[in-house]
């Protein structure tokens, strides 16, 4: 997560800097066995289940499985909700990351810990907490209902909120790391030249940390796309409205494993395609 952050200060065309270590690495070619073996085991462990999914896929019945409108409905909803959740995370997550990285206030450490809490919280617990806060009978939800007539559970908005709750910490952590690694002197220079702090943020900081924001957004988007627990708990499950792909996969698994595998393949393909596409554009690691 901090990797893109560490690279940010280096200007784009800094070849002479990176060329040195790379040549050195080539000279010491042997990889120590105590590192190589666990590394390969780890790699195999991560890839084997995905490989199994491809091997056991009911390829012959696949066109039939995937031609049902429910699949595309669920996929469209998944993409829409994950993208909305990412947009919402960007809107409030980037300022939150800036606050954590660039300002000093009492209890900042505690706030940072609280922001990252959804990262470790079981998503179902997140869903229950969302219900208690934004449900029809919730702490905030009852006022939304009686004042504005807004109900969030069982709606597509509810799905977006559940996904945002789970995914935004990824963005905040990533952007905050990038901000800490970025040299604050650029911003200071801008302010000494008369720019307001907000202008400095907009014109100097944002372009500087753009790769970190992009990396965080991709992480958040991927997490939102796979979100299951908070979504089914808070937003329920209704085809076309709140049934995203992971929910469809889970319920298909109850009585039609072949359909579940087919749906999983689609989700896998989408995830791989998006991550590969974005990686080339924004997050090129080497």
């Amino acid at each position: 997560m901090t990797e893109p952050a560490a690279k940010t200060p280096a200007p784009a065309g800094a070849d002479p800097v990176t060329a040195g270590p790379r040549r050195a690495r080539r000279r010491g070619r042997t990889v120590p066995v105590p590192l190589l073996v666990p590394a390969l085991v780890g790699l195999a462990f991560l890839l084997l289940p995905l490989l199994a999914l491809v091997i056991r896929a009911p390829w012959s019945g696949l066109p039939e499985q995937l031609s049902s409108p429910e699949v595309w409905q669920a996929l469209r909803l998944s993409l829409l909700c994950a993208t909305s959740a990412t947009a919402l995370s960007l809107l409030v997550g980037v300022p939150l990351a800036w606050l954590l990285a660039r300002t000093d206030f009492p209890g900042r450490g505690l706030v940072r810990a609280l922001v990252t809490l959804p990262l470790v919280l079981p998503p179902v617990v997140g869903g229950v907490a969302l219900l208690l806060a934004f449900g029809r009978n919730g702490v905030v939800g009852q006022w939304l209902e009686s004042w504005f007539g807004i109900t969030l559970p069982f709606t597509t908005t509810g799905v977006v909120l559940a996904e945002t709750f789970v995914a935004m910490p990824f963005l905040v952590v990533s952007v905050e790391g990038t901000l800490r690694a970025a040299d604050p002197r650029y911003e200071e220079a801008a302010t000494t030249l008369g720019a307001s702090r907000f202008t400095a943020f907009r014109r100097v900081t944002l372009p500087l940390i753009a790769p970190g924001i992009a990396a965080g957004a991709v992480l958040a988007w991927a997490r939102a796309l796979g979100e299951f627990g908070a979504t089914i708990t808070f937003a329920g499950n209704f085809p076309g409205r709140t049934q995203t792909m992971p929910l469809a996969v889970y319920l298909a698994l109850q009585n039609d494993p072949a359909a579940a595998i087919a749906l999983s393949l689609v989700l896998l393909a989408v995830s791989v395609a998006v991550l590969a596409g974005l990686r080339d554009r924004w997050m090129s690691a080497s």
Binding site: L131, R136, P153, F154, I232, A235, Q243, L251
Partner: protein, 277 residues
């Protein structure tokens, strides 16, 4: 998964506490924590349990059986000192999948013959499953029934938020059957993944009504109100139970199934809202 593990722990603990309580009552030992099972063995007089059963019995049971089977597990441990009944309560489909996947279990009690069939088809059951109870649907509403729901039809034409179980799980299939039988179209706000999830939505007052089992309404106490509807007779679920082929503790497992089917077992189950087969 974590839920069932958690339950298992809790049940074991309550069973132990119950055992300790019995020991204290009999004033056999002040030190209840040491070996309360031995104390029971001396005093209980072993009713009808001449065969020396021992060890752990692992029972995989449908989520709706949680309350009644927990009680029966405690009864069993009292009748057969030295045994320990461990439960795994979850959706029947999930349990069937773990059993066919090789999970070590002695007894499987399912909420539908269809789920049981996946186990018998896989050759994982020993003998033929028998139906030991039946369960009927009921409408669960908010406490006091503020929406004045009195029939299945009331759920379809009012502005009520209704949740159903997904059609892939037994309670959802049964609800669909009842709706079809009465020619009703019902659009819920959500198809929940199991019956407890559907009930929870009403308990949290997020939904106005859910179609669940009678036993679930009873177990929820005063957190929901139950409304009977005649169409539920069209969709009664049979609950089959069976000994599993790879049961590690066959004798004790047989004895547990006997207890479930005995007059005492049926009394506990009907007390929880089940119907006798």
């Amino acid at each position: 998964m974590t839920r069932s593990v958690h339950r298992t722990h809790r049940i074991r603990r309550t069973a132990r506490v119950a055992g300790a309580g019995a020991a204290a009552l009999l004033a056999l030992s002040a030190c209840s924590s040491s070996s309360d099972t031995d104390a029971d063995a001396d005093s209980a007089g072993a009713p009808s349990s001449s065969a020396k059963l021992s060890g752990q019995v692992t029972v995989f049971a449908a989520a709706s059986l949680k309350e009644s089977f927990t009680t029966l597990g405690e009864t069993f441990e009292k009748q057969h000192p030295g045994t320990e009944v461990t439960f795994n309560f979850a959706g029947s489909d999930t349990l069937a999948a773990s059993i066919t996947g090789g999970a070590p279990a002695d007894v499987f009690a399912s909420a539908s013959p269809k789920t049981m069939a996946t186990v018998t088809d896989a050759g994982a059951a020993a003998g033929t499953p028998v139906t030991f109870v039946r369960n009927q649907l009921e409408i669960a509403t908010l406490p006091g029934n503020p929406g004045h729901v009195s029939s299945l039809k009331d759920l379809t034409d009012s502005g009520l938020k209704v949740v159903l179980c997904d059609k892939t799980v037994p309670c959802g299939a049964a609800a669909q059957k009842a709706l079809d039988a009465s020619g009703l179209e019902l659009t819920p706000v959500s198809y929940e993944q199991d019956v407890k999830a559907a009930l929870t939505k009403v308990e949290l007052k997020e939904a106005d009504a859910a179609v669940v089992y009678k036993t679930d309404v009873k177990a929820a106490g005063d957190k929901v109100s139950g409304v009977d509807f005649p169409e539920s007779a069209e969709a009664v679920n049979d609950y089959p139970i069976t000994l599993l082929k790879d049961a590690p503790n066959t004798d004790a497992a047989k004895a547990f199934i006997e207890l479930v089917r005995s007059a005492e077992g049926q009394r506990v189950l009907t007390g929880a809202g089940f119907r006798t087969p």
